[in-house]
Symmetry: C2
Subunit: 160 residues, 2 copies
């Protein structure tokens, strides 16, 4: 279970646009440069984001991208799903015929819970929240007092 670069890059791109558009358009070139992502590759993600109606583009010279809606109105799960596809799906949710005896299958419930958990993280935050967080981190550094949660390198679990 890894998060794809698409999702990571795309999310960063969205944040980048939110941060750097002063009402105007943001250039792919600039996003790519700031985020140090291949412009050509980033194009794909922008396409996905556009097709999902999260950004709108203007073509031609002095074109660019901007958010389709207010940052406070773009949930992070929308961004995620635009890039990564539906969250933590087990096919048998849609189509119970896939698993034999889906009726008595109690593990399916489990996967649903996992999906819900992810959604409740990403679905309760908006791009505006992320932007706020970014700006806080940027101006005061990463809360160097005690914030930076150490995680154990192999378990990923938080550690004392």
């Amino acid at each position: 279970m890894k998060i794809s670069t698409r999702a990571r890059y795309g999310m960063r791109a969205m944040l980048d646009i939110a941060v750097h558009s002063d009402g105007g358009l943001v250039l792919l070139k600039d996003i790519a440069a700031r985020q140090e992502i291949s412009k050509r590759y980033l194009e794909h993600m922008m396409t996905q984001l556009r097709n999902s109606g999260l950004v709108v583009s203007e073509r031609g010279a002095s074109g660019g991208y901007r958010l389709a809606r207010d940052p406070g109105d773009i949930r992070l799960d929308e961004i995620f799903e635009a890039l990564e596809g539906e969250i933590a799906v087990v096919e048998c949710i849609r189509d119970a015929a896939i698993c034999s005896r889906a009726d008595e299958c109690v593990t399916r419930d489990l996967w649903c819970e996992v999906a819900s958990a992810i959604r409740s993280v990403l679905g309760t935050k908006t791009l505006a929240d992320l932007k706020k967080r970014y700006e806080r981190v940027k101006e005061q550094g990463r809360d160097s007092g005690r914030g930076d949660v150490r995680v154990h390198s192999s378990t990923g679990r938080a550690v004392k």
Copy 2:
């Protein structure tokens, strides 16, 4: 973001063992038959589970598998990670050098939260819980009153 068949099959296998071992050993053959999974394929998952120390095997005629520990002492995230690998990793957690400017990267925090959310679903349940759930479902049917949460086929979100 899909959950692999390995994880699904493996989880079902673990549940199957928990349910069908009366202190004794459970045969791969039987698990495969009950779960309608290719025996040959299931072997792989059993290997992973064994290597992770979640089941122990006995070889030779009248060999088989049993849980390495008490079901109440086997967390579901252990099973999941044995099969699927580390939960929701972004590489830059381990190795900050992977992402340029990981210091000011606020999206990384987001992915950490996602990972935590998954862990808090799977890490707070044990195989004993799952077994209990299974037995409840089995004897009284799937709570046919109102339980079966309908989810929207495309969003996966719960629907009225």
